[in-house]
């Protein structure tokens, strides 16, 4: 009987240790990144994932119709923010995706910098698609996250700007 007790206690003791170690190893392994680039395919319908948080505030964006295989999201206010997790220090961030607008809008994407300012770039939309890139040398990385800002200073209540749910962010070094 005593042996059985001891075996049960030992079994659970090692089980707890194994579970603890597994959790620690999982967390550590997820934070190690050895590849040259990291690609995120954004999903605007999920505003809070482990890698991407945004767009927020959620009241400023609303899911609407679909174009082809992609959903589109109506922008009803600005600016919109997004946080992108970066496990290591990358040098360049490329953002590409689709934007549909009823007229030619002044749409800018910014990246928060170390000094608190924002490095804004006006988007050149060709065939409802854009592609832009940012150098990450002076970008603010807080809690291993980059902050992206989408701004449309000229947006009015009559404007119709829709983000196509096919955006891609590529971090590379």
């Amino acid at each position: 009987m005593m042996i059985n007790k001891s075996i049960i206690i030992q079994f659970f003791r090692y089980l707890w240790i194994a579970l603890g170690l597994a959790l620690i190893l999982f967390v550590v392994s997820q934070s190690l990144y050895t590849k040259r680039s990291l690609e995120y395919n954004l999903n605007f319908s999920e505003t809070n994932t482990k890698d991407i948080r945004g767009w927020y505030p959620e009241q400023r964006i609303r899911g609407s119709s679909s174009v082809g295989v992609n959903n589109t999201f109506n922008i009803i206010g600005e600016p919109l923010y997004m946080k992108v997790y970066t496990p290591i220090n990358f040098e360049v961030m490329d953002i590409s995706g689709g934007i549909l607008s009823s007229k030619e809008e002044d749409i800018r994407i910014g990246l928060k910098q170390d000094d608190g300012s924002c490095d804004f770039k006006k988007l050149e939309i060709i065939d409802n698609n854009f592609n832009t890139s940012f150098a990450l040398e002076d970008a603010q990385v807080r809690n291993n996250q980059l902050e992206v800002i989408l701004s449309m200073p000229s947006i009015t209540s009559s404007s119709s700007v829709r983000l196509v749910d096919n955006w891609k962010i590529v971090l590379s070094r």
């Binding site: 049960i8 579970l19 620690i24 967390v27 291993n144």
Partner: protein, 58 residues
């Protein structure tokens, strides 16, 4: 009952050590742990286990 008490005690000790290690990792590399594990909820869970442990140990 004694077996159960010992198992809960072992669980608490291991969970506490794991929590401390995770907090250390989070401090060294912010965001690394919180992406997967909510350390605050983990702490509340530890407190509950500790209380449970004290109750059954009487």
């Amino acid at each position: 009952m004694k077996i159960f008490i010992t198992i809960v005690k072992d669980f608490f000790k291991t969970a506490l050590i794991v929590w401390l290690l995770l907090v250390f990792f989070e401090l060294v590399n912010p965001g690394m742990v919180q992406r997967f594990v909510n350390l605050e909820i983990y702490l509340y869970f530890l407190v509950l286990v500790y209380i449970f442990n004290k109750i059954i140990d009487r």
